[in-house]
């Protein structure tokens, strides 16, 4: 009799767990992936991409620093216009805990390298994957886009479009420096 | 005469043979001989009914095979072809069950079903068309034919269920239960009648050769009315073209415009068809009630069923569904899934047609459980077969007309 009862309890529990999982999956788990695009305060989606020197750059490797992510393309005019601003800010804060990563939406190595030489860019530039996984993770549509990430890895602020306002950039970086 | 024309003529002959077979079966039941219990009357007229039924079916098969030869692919790729195929399967199942049960009444109810479906199928475009890439697969043969074969059993189950209801509903009783049964039987019979009315309307107006064409400004969109447009589309979308007549028997057309929530080029046309069908059905029904069917259509048909054993009908209805259920599940679900996996990459797409096939399956699953485990026999079970067949017909036709989806190439 007791054996039978335990048997029943086990079977019912299995189904209870399955129902519970469904509800949890819907009400908690799915929330993150459905809305997709990260907001201010959300953890910045991590990535690991190649830079022009064929080294892998991982976003989470820079925790403890303020990271400025600039999504750009060699063909985009506002991107070209705002590059000197980033270079200036980079030189000013690079020793105080700032990292700027330019994520190029495309893998045209020759063109990008020439662009970097032409504009004298010294901060790291990485290529997004061929299917633009990183850009999709950040919900990028028009470029440029700039995200400022706090030392704890959450998004401090972002700007869609460009050219960037140098004052906003400098002050946001300064406010978040460790 | 080319093959395609020969094929169409075979179908026409088949249609009339089904009707003759129908009258043969009916005469076997209500003819003078059956009243006087004359020797051999039933047997003779049954043989006549069956003979014509068989001839009709053979003509139907001839239509099917010649069309196959003419088209170069199995003719089950559009609504006309599918519906005629379904009618052919119903014909086959009916003949097989007739041989098993020797019941004229089964023929009397199934032959018109096949004929009505042929007529209804003929409303849809009948051109032989080559196969689009999505249909170029041997699964077209396997999936569609098996599903239609399963559905033909549901059709016979429906015919037997309806006969059971007509046989057991007491038309002289006055209690609330029989009144309700009578009312609902009238509704079901009127729905069947409305399909006949619809076919007759479309064919008679087609025969006049007049069409009413509504177009938008650059004639890129148009809606072609065969029935006179009592209800026209929104003039800001489409207007009556110059070439079309602007009146019908002195009535200015369009009489009114469709309500604003009916968008799309065909919504108003479908609404117009519904209005025509409903109004004429109501007129015909009223006329019948005033003349031959004073106590209702059911009462007339009910008289035909008096000689039948209700339990045999109940059992027959259940047997057909029990046979059809696994066949439908095989063709309508498993084969459908395998093909869907091959063509679209997913075995299940939640496409309306698929969902409705699943609904048909779930409905008959519920039917079997209610019958086998909960003891729903007799009237309850018979009503389920009627509802079930309505769901089948909605899945086959309604989904394509009302909802579109991946199966939309099967539409009009």
């Amino acid at each position: 009799m007791n054996q039978k009862r335990w048997f029943r309890i086990v079977i019912l529990l299995i189904f209870l767990v399955m129902s519970g999982y469904t509800l949890w999956n819907h009400f908690y788990h799915d929330q993150v992936s459905v809305t997709g695009i990260p907001k201010i305060g959300d953890p910045a989606p991590d990535f690991e991409l190649y830079n022009l020197e064929n080294q892998k750059i991982k976003l989470s490797g820079y925790s403890g620093k303020v990271v400025v992510l600039n999504f750009w393309g060699h063909w985009c005019e506002p991107c070209q216009q705002e590059m000197p601003t980033f270079e200036k800010v980079w030189n000013k804060f690079k020793d105080k805990g700032l990292v700027i990563i330019g994520v190029h939406l495309g893998q045209e190595a020759v063109t990008v390298k020439h662009f970097v030489d032409q504009y004298g860019i010294t901060f790291p530039i990485v290529y997004d994957t061929s299917d633009l996984q990183t850009a999709h993770a950040y919900g990028i549509d028009p470029i440029p886009d700039t995200y400022i990430i706090k030392p704890d890895g959450t998004i401090a602020d972002f700007r869609i479009g460009g050219p960037i306002d140098p004052d906003w950039l400098a002050s946001t970086i300064q406010n978040n420096l460790p | 005469m080319n093959l395609e024309v020969f094929s169409s003529n075979s179908l026409l002959i088949s249609f009339f043979l089904y009707l003759i077979s129908f009258f043969g079966f009916v005469w076997s039941i209500v003819g003078k001989g059956s009243l006087t219990k004359a020797a051999n009357h039933t047997e003779r007229w049954n043989r006549i009914g069956f003979g014509f039924g068989l001839a009709a079916w053979l003509a139907h098969v001839t239509f099917f095979l010649t069309r196959w030869a003419a088209a170069g692919h199995i003719p089950t790729s559009n609504m006309f072809e599918f519906m005629t195929f379904l009618a052919m399967m119903i014909g086959f199942t009916m003949l097989a069950f007739y041989l098993y049960s020797r019941n004229a009444i089964l023929g009397a109810f199934s032959t018109p079903l096949a004929a009505i479906i042929i007529a209804f199928a003929s409303v849809f475009p009948r051109d032989v068309e080559p196969l689009i890439p999505a249909l170029q697969s041997y699964w077209l043969k396997i999936h569609v034919t098996t599903a239609a074969f399963g559905e033909s059993f549901f059709a016979i189950g429906f015919a037997a269920g309806l006969m059971y209801l007509l046989r057991t509903t007491d038309y002289s009783a006055k209690d609330a239960r029989s009144a309700r049964a009578k009312r609902w039987l009238e509704v079901v019979l009127s729905v069947v009648m409305s399909i006949i009315v619809f076919c007759v309307l479309v064919f008679s107006f087609k025969a006049t050769g007049v069409t009413y064409i509504f177009q938008n400004a650059d004639a890129s969109k148009e809606a072609v009315y065969v029935l006179p447009p009592l209800v026209g589309p929104n003039p800001s979308e489409l207007t009556l073209s110059e070439a079309s007549p602007n009146s019908w028997n002195g009535v200015h057309v369009p009489l009114v415009q469709a309500p604003s929530f009916m968008k799309g080029k065909d919504a108003a046309r479908k609404f117009n068809t519904v209005i025509w069908t409903t109004v004429i059905t109501a007129l015909v029904y009223g006329l019948l009630r005033l003349t031959v069917a004073r106590r209702g259509l059911g009462a007339v048909l009910s008289r035909m069923t008096t000689g039948l054993d209700p339990e045999d009908l109940d059992e027959l209805s259940y047997r057909t569904i029990a046979i059809g259920y696994p066949i439908f599940a095989l063709g309508g679900l498993l084969f459908a899934m395998i093909w869907a996996k091959e063509a679209w990459g997913r075995f299940w797409d939640n496409d309306p047609k698929e969902v409705w096939a699943a609904i048909v399956f779930l409905f008959y699953t519920a039917y079997l459980h209610l019958r086998l485990s909960r003891g729903w026999l007799g009237a309850k079970s018979a009503w389920l077969t009627v509802i079930g067949f309505l769901i089948v017909m909605f899945t086959l036709v309604g989904v394509n007309l009302v909802i579109s989806g991946l199966h939309s190439y099967a539409g009009v």
Binding site: R8, L12, H26 | L362, S373
Partner: protein, 557 residues
């Protein structure tokens, strides 16, 4: 607590058993003029016990067929609601880009009704938590209903006794009572029954015929099939890695990485064919080559090492399948011809006595930085796919597409200074003329230039093929479940468990017969057997008198 009830035949039955498992005598009071309820042979179902605990109550709830049918009806109604408007999932995203937000789509296409439909979550009915929950409940009901019935049924059927109580026989739906018959009837009867495929059991004063007992297991087999199917579905939704479903664009002539897979796929050529004299398409075909990337994958700095796996024309209904991945022809778009790559020739600038040094292929999508041609070495310094001069007089690219490709090379080789010479190359004649390539190259003193020998050296893309890339590791289990279901259903519906009991009390014989389905067929068969055995009777005589009385009273009312 009493766990068993003893019948007068000596058999101990579980409590709440209706008919003795052994002799069939009723153990409780039954109405006189009713047929016996033979469902599950009158055995006690596991859930029907006195003093239920909470577990027992829940168990009993799920073991009810009524509950199961209600769950089925709910599922049916809710899924039909999901077909009113298209589902969100039909708004397909290609390479991750959504064309319109679902919310906007429903309100703009269907107005207020669409907004409500979206708000209530019917726009994703088939992935909603309530439908999933309903399926889990159906699964629970399937498992519990089956467990509850199969063991007791098995027990009852495996210990059937040939000799049944007269009460049991007289209340079967098919029943016959004879007081006189010939001595040899037994032998004739058994012989006839055997010919009809019955297993016969003869004991003193009783005969028992049985056939197709296995059909009783049909419902349980089909339930197991459904459980396999449902479990497969649950795992499918729980382990995302087992399924993949994405749409990717493959431009003609391009080798592209297939995202989230170890593969690269090349669209060599896309073919669109129409039927002669018709506007109906006959063929959509992508000539595809599948590669596996073995190293340097998705590293823009180094060429990936690709190993060719297979070549196949992908058509609708004919996907490319490899290692559990399938590539389906989904869509296509015909585009204005777009340069993919050029087979260029390096030649001397001297027009009068032009010399050629060799050929190489120049990609317009992502050209390589270094080329060796004969004795010359070329370095690609800059490439602008859509060359133009910006406002501040710098060369720039207006877009990412090769609309006006422009190259700057440095050449080293014989008779060229060590620092090399630069030269430009505009493949398209219009650009060549507009930017005066020849003048520029002559001005910087380049000894060489690039050129083509004709149209055959230009490789154009004229179509983009959209492929649907999928994996579904659970699929075999899903189909296995359905096949098991169909086998079970067929066993249960196409065969019937038929039993006949005969009991002799002196010169009196009572026959009772039972089938779980198809009474008409059974009645006819039994009638044939009895006629063969030498009895004279009418088929209607087999109908139980209780039933016949009921029919008569029905007809009179």
């Amino acid at each position: 607590m009493i766990d068993s009830v003893k019948c007068e035949c000596g058999h101990a039955n579980p409590t709440e058993t209706v008919l003795c498992e052994s002799c069939g005598k009723p153990l409780i009071e039954l109405p006189e003029h009713e047929l016996l309820e033979m469902r599950y042979d009158g055995i006690a179902r596991r859930s029907q016990r006195t003093n239920p605990s909470v577990t027992d109550r829940i168990w009993r709830f799920f073991s009810s067929v009524k509950v199961a049918v209600n769950l089925i009806i709910f599922t049916l109604l809710l899924s039909s609601v999901g077909t009113i408007f298209p589902q969100e999932s039909t708004l397909i995203t290609i390479d991750g880009f959504k064309e319109i937000s679902p919310e906007e789509y429903y309100s703009s296409t269907y107005g207020a009704a669409g907004e409500l439909y979206y708000a209530f979550g019917f726009s994703h009915t088939y992935s909603s938590w309530w439908l999933t929950l309903l399926l889990i409940l159906i699964g629970t009901s399937l498992v519990i209903c089956s467990l509850d019935r199969i063991l007791p049924l098995y027990r009852a059927l495996s210990k059937q006794q040939a000799k049944k109580h007269p009460f049991f026989l007289r209340r079967q739906r098919l029943s016959l009572n004879r007081s006189s018959f010939e001595e040899s009837w037994n032998v004739q009867f058994l012989l006839a029954a055997k010919k009809h495929g019955y297993k016969t059991h003869e004991v003193e004063d009783a005969i028992f015929l049985e056939k197709n007992r296995f059909s009783r297991w049909g419902p349980y087999i089909n339930h197991i099939g459904l459980i396999v199917f449902l479990i497969a579905l649950v795992f499918r939704s729980m382990v995302p890695d087992w399924t993949m479903d994405q749409y990717n664009a493959f431009t003609e002539g391009e080798i592209r990485q297939v995202p989230n897979t170890p593969f690269y796929l090349e669209n060599k050529k896309f073919t669109l064919e129409y039927y002669p004299n018709e506007s109906i398409p006959k063929l959509f075909q992508t000539d595809a080559v599948l590669y596996k990337c073995t190293s340097n994958c998705d590293n823009p700095n180094v060429d990936p090492t690709l190993k060719e796996l297979m070549t196949k024309p992908i058509r609708v209904n004919e996907p490319l399948e490899y290692d559990g991945y399938s590539f389906y022809q989904y869509q296509f778009s015909i585009i204005p011809p777009q340069l993919n790559s050029i087979h260029v020739t390096l030649r001397s600038l001297n027009l009068k006595n032009q010399q050629t040094y060799g050929q190489f292929t120049l990609s317009l999508k992502n050209p390589k930085p270094e080329y060796t041609v004969g004795e010359y070495h070329l370095t690609l310094i800059d490439y602008k796919p859509d060359f133009s001069i910006s406002a501040d007089k710098k060369p720039t690219s207006k877009t990412q597409n090769a609309n006006a490709p422009g190259f700057v090379f440095q050449v080293n080789g014989p008779n060229i200074p060590a620092e090399g010479k630069k030269f430009m190359y505009f493949p398209l004649p219009k650009d060549k003329a507009f930017y005066r390539e020849a003048d520029l190259n002559a001005k910087v003193g380049s000894p060489v230039e690039l050129g083509v020998n004709g149209m055959q050296d230009l490789n154009f893309a004229t179509a983009i093929s959209y492929l649907n890339v999928r994996t579904d590791r659970v699929l075999p289990w899903i189909f296995a479940g359905i096949i098991l279901f169909l086998v079970g259903v067929s066993i249960g519906l196409y065969w019937q468990h038929r039993r006949v009991w005969v009991r002799f009390d002196g010169s009196n014989m009572i026959l009772g017969a039972h089938t779980n389905k198809n009474w008409l067929g059974f009645r006819r068969e039994l009638y044939t057997i009895l006629i063969k055995s030498g009895l004279t009777l009418d088929e209607r005589d087999l109908v139980n008198s209780i039933e016949q009385e009921k029919e008569i009273s029905n007809d009179e009312s």
